[in-house]
């Protein structure tokens, strides 16, 4: 992709417009993804656990393992591509190396905890689900913040 190799995105109006649109739409995708997850799993950790593991008191069946696996597989595919795109842009910003490492580490940990927590819920129970969905929210929030930061950097011609 040319934006990875280009020295300064601000100097190329076409690439700049493409990246601005991409960041805006990725932010929208992250917000919609959070919304879809909230509708599917609920708003509180208790409802997350009930949706995945079932709740006999409320007559809720546990989620089928094949459905859970498919959901993780689809989510992870999109989130990895989003992470790579945002990371390849963020690495070019003027932020300190330390802050970049902290942000990338947080994103990677969240990205790992989301599937592992859900898959491990059969072993560690509710804690796995709460960890996974918290990591999902943290990842999405961080990506939205980074998109804002990148848009600011682009508007100030620092990217």
């Amino acid at each position: 992709m040319k934006f990875i190799a280009s020295k300064k995105l601000s100097d190329n109006p076409t690439l700049r417009a493409v990246i601005v649109w991409m960041l805006l739409l990725l932010m929208l995708a992250m917000v919609l993804s959070l919304g879809a997850k909230e509708i599917e799993y609920g708003l509180t950790p208790q409802t997350w656990v009930s949706t995945v593991m079932g709740n006999p008191d409320e007559f809720i069946d546990p989620m089928l393992f094949s459905d859970l696996l498919l959901s993780i597989h689809t989510d992870l595919f999109g989130l990895i591509i989003t992470f790579i795109l945002i990371a390849s842009l963020y690495v070019r910003t003027l932020r300190s190396m330390k802050s970049k490492i902290i942000v990338f580490s947080a994103l990677l940990i969240a990205l790992l905890l989301y599937p592992l927590g859900l898959l491990g819920s059969s072993l560690i129970g509710a804690m796995g689900i709460i960890t996974a969905l918290s990591a999902f929210i943290v990842f999405h929030t961080l990506i939205i913040i980074l998109c804002f930061d990148l848009l600011l950097s682009l508007s100030r011609k620092r990217l």
Partner: protein, 142 residues
């Protein structure tokens, strides 16, 4: 030689994007229909979650594909910079509006069914148009 190979790959990628868009159009007509009544009926049974389930992967993956496809425009010198920017804004705006109109339809706003058709057809036409520009620019360059 490398330049020619890269042009060939870029055109191939563009052709695949067009094929995917056409298949998307076919799927849309096959599953939903093309008249406002058919579209209204299809979305009448959908919940917000049902719409979001389609909307989220579409927003994510089409954004990335469009970004990869449209960045070829920066290599083209057969059209003016202003025209390139105009195409970029038009295509991304049509995509965004096309994706968001189903929310209006499920909220019961009838005019959104007409807008959905308009934005959907507009998006496909402009995408094809950009591909034709890229294609002729690459022939001229070689």
């Amino acid at each position: 030689m490398n330049q020619k190979l890269l042009t060939f790959l870029a055109l191939g990628f563009g052709a695949l994007i067009i094929l995917q868009a056409l298949l998307g159009g076919w799927l849309f007509i096959h599953n939903i229909g093309i008249t406002p009544d058919e579209i209204k009926t299809y979305y009448a049974d959908k919940s917000l979650h049902g719409v979001l389930e389609v909307l989220v992967p579409h927003t994510l993956f089409i954004t990335i594909s469009l970004m990869a496809f449209l960045h070829f425009l920066s290599f083209i010198d057969t059209i003016e910079q202003k025209t390139k920017t105009y195409f970029l804004h038009l295509l991304f705006s049509l995509f965004l509006l096309d994706q968001l109109t189903p929310i209006g339809i499920i909220l019961g706003i009838e005019s959104f069914t007409y807008l959905k058709i308009l934005f959907f057809v507009g998006f496909e036409v402009v995408l094809g148009w950009v591909w034709i520009i890229t294609f002729f620019a690459s022939i001229k360059k070689n």
